[in-house]
């Protein structure tokens, strides 16, 4: 079995950079907003409750997870020589990041429309 980045190197390279550029805008926005956030639970609910912020948080988390998936894949490809172990780890990585994305999407949906 070949490593995943072996056959999709160019796509991986471009995706890593496109997500990086998006995160260079979204991460400072998210962290500064959180630092300025006041009022505990109610304040946080009100902030995420704004549609523009909900979209921003959703994009921030999903793009972060995708970028994480790409980066950790390179580390697995570099250090794990055994093809079986590598395949299991990459599969696990996909499952975990997808699950985290689905949980976030559901949480955002329930905050925005759950009342």
């Amino acid at each position: 079995m070949s490593t995943a980045t072996q056959k999709h190197g160019t796509g991986h390279f471009i995706a890593e950079r496109v997500t990086a550029i998006a995160l260079m805008v979204l991460t400072p926005w998210f962290l500064i907003s959180l630092a300025l956030l006041d009022g505990g639970y109610d304040g946080a609910r009100a902030w995420v409750g704004q549609p523009i912020n909900a979209i921003g948080v959703g994009l921030f988390i999903l793009i972060t997870l995708y970028h994480t998936r790409l980066g950790l894949q390179v580390i697995v490809d570099d250090y794990i020589g055994n093809p079986g172990t590598r395949g299991i780890l990459l599969g696990l990585l996909t499952v975990l990041t997808t699950a985290a994305g689905l949980i976030s999407a559901y949480a955002l949906y329930s905050i925005s429309f759950g009342g």
Binding site: P28, A44, I61, L72, A107, L108, I111
Partner: protein
């Protein structure tokens, strides 16, 4: 290996230079730090998902989560994650500049390596100042 081996000088050849014989450079440190901070930030990403899930889960869950984050160990971990985020951000900017075939000269790379280390410490301090102190 048999004595009739066609390879000359077997056993008497110099070894390839390994990590420990290189003079230390800031660029070496920042190279591995980019990987280490990236891996650490994977845990940070899960933390953000937990924050959002707690927010969706109601006031009680959110207060529990906030208690953990505001405890001393929680604040130390959060600060280290902020340092990792700032460093990984700076390292990403450096990589994009290198992709444009700029900043690759050894001295320039050394200067931007130190700049990213300094930024990694200063940016989180600024963030905590925004939040109203430590």
């Amino acid at each position: 290996m048999a004595a009739s081996s066609p390879e000359p000088n077997l056993g008497a050849r110099p070894l390839a230079p390994h990590l420990q014989v290189w003079r230390w450079h800031a660029t070496m440190l920042t190279s591995i730090l980019n990987r280490m901070t990236g891996s650490g930030l994977a845990a940070g990403a899960i933390g953000v998902v937990i924050w959002l899930a707690a927010l969706a889960g109601g006031p009680q869950r959110f207060v529990t989560m906030e208690g953990v984050v505001r405890s001393l160990p929680g604040q130390v971990i959060l600060f280290l994650l902020a340092v990792a985020a700032a460093f990984h951000f700076a390292a990403g900017v450096r990589h994009l500049i290198w992709d444009a075939e700029r900043g690759l000269a050894p001295h320039t790379a050394e200067v931007t390596a130190w700049a990213s280390i300094i930024f990694a410490v200063l940016a989180p301090i600024g963030l905590w100042a925004l939040a109203g102190g430590f």
